[in-house]
Chain length 291, copies 2
């Protein structure tokens, strides 16, 4: 995706869904010189994006003219909404257009869309691993991409050209690390690093109803449960769409935690220290330079 | 604890153990006008504290003259070390001296020391709920106390006067919230907010040995596992000394996580959203104004 197309005009990106992530994409891409269009449900979100200069044009309707102008379309909506939307509007895409998304599950989204999509249009999944515990375009901020990871999930149906367009997109958005995984490898990986961690944070908050705990907590508890403030509709969908991986990761995690508990119960000093030393070594790999 | 004693001289505080926390106490208390003494194992830690002006005097020996000068003694050492140290040196304390600590478990420390301590000296436990994932006086920084919680754990053997001295200490150190709990209530509370959270972070790191995960992780995984970098000797001691509470908290947490897993497996939308909504509401109580 070049900032200018061969005719010398700015490259045109359509963003479907101006929420936290869609708005952050619009902010950054417009600042980088792209022509950004938007389709979203609420007029007030369009108005805010226009007022901030993040979009050139937008609509609350699924306008075929607007859709047909885009060389790149980014779906920043829930997985089921995306699949239905593409199915309903696929005749409107520009021939040669590249479509991508921002969803946290990839097998369902990518395999579904690729099963019915027109041959002259390409859907290539991607996942910006960044976010906030709040939603809505008013919280949009492209600083959330800085230092973060961007995953591209091609299948046998995708082209090297589209992969390059999405690598350029990840770089333009400011991501620090761009990786390529299959949709299935992606879902296995997020089942551990994202879905399991959210399941843990939510369970930790549900395990105790002491209203006074905030008077006693240290930073460790705050950090561990930050993500327990959760968009319940979105995460219910993500958990169901990654059910197999998530339930398996929960089983493996519980087995390790039960083993730690046994070592505590038996006062197995060597065994417990080994767990601590291994976790310390592994965690050191994840430090960012600023930490 | 006044900055000046009745004779108009600066109040004298002895810190036993110049590590991360002991050093941070020395830094703040010396800046606030107290006369700070230190006893610690390594000459280089004393040298650093002297060089920075954090202590007036110090020794690597358990010097009875130094011990006898202190109106307040703070033990910033491991629980077992503390109990042995007090037992060995109790004849050296100044009559009327108040002793406290910084340990993360209270029943063992407080009940042990109070069982054998001289009648004219008072041990009152306290727990500064602040820290870093590194240890040693070179990382000492009294900014870690800002906004944090300070818990005081009196028993029937303690006096209101000593509780007031420790409240003043907590305020002087810059803690935002000072609470009073029995040692047993404290240990139950930290079994959940601190020991269980560390057990979870350590288990999460031990549950997966994929060396490439750092290329894919989002901030949620980093936050959740920050505390998996852990001082293995200290935390083995803390877990064993709070064994009953910790194993019970692990059981309760695992039951909630298994329930969440069942709801995912059955695609119980209402049940799962209820867990998410409750965790979101409860977590909101823990936000600091800056979050």
């Amino acid at each position: 995706m070049r900032k200018q197309n061969p005719a010398g005009q700015p490259g045109t990106v359509l963003i479907v869904g101006l929420g936290l992530i869609g708005g952050s994409y619009a902010k950054r891409l417009s600042a980088e010189g792209f022509r950004v269009l938007a389709i979203t449900q609420r007029e007030e979100d369009l108005a805010l994006a226009r007022q901030r200069g993040w979009i050139a044009q937008g609509s609350t309707e699924e306008d075929p003219v607007l859709i047909g102008e885009a060389e790149l379309v980014v779906f920043a909506v829930y997985p089921h909404v995306l699949v239905d939307w593409v199915s309903r509007n696929q005749q409107a895409f520009r021939p040669g257009a590249v479509l991508t998304d921002v969803c946290g599950v990839k097998e369902y989204v990518v395999r579904s869309v690729q099963s019915f999509l027109r041959e002259d249009v390409e859907f290539l999944g991607s996942h910006p691993m960044a976010g906030k515990e709040v939603s809505g375009i008013r919280y949009s901020d492209d600083a959330i991409f800085r230092g973060a990871n961007f995953i591209i999930t091609p299948t046998e149906k995708n082209t090297g050209g589209a992969v390059q367009i999405l690598k350029d997109l990840g770089n333009t958005l400011g991501f620090a690390h761009i990786s390529v995984l299959s949709p299935e490898e992606h879902d296995k990986m997020v089942g551990y690093v994202s879905h399991l961690t959210h399941a843990i944070a939510v369970s930790l908050m549900n395990a105790n109803d002491n209203q006074h705990l905030q008077e006693y907590t240290g930073d460790s508890f705050r950090d561990l449960t930050r993500i327990a403030r959760i968009n319940d509709a979105l995460w219910t969908e993500l958990f169901f769409l990654n059910k197999k991986n998530l339930t398996q990761e929960i089983d493996e995690f519980v087995a390790v935690l039960e083993d730690l508990k046994d070592k505590v119960a038996k006062e197995d000093t060597e065994g417990l220290r080994e767990l601590f030393i291994r976790s310390t070594q592994r965690r050191a790999l994840f430090d960012r330079p600023a930490e």
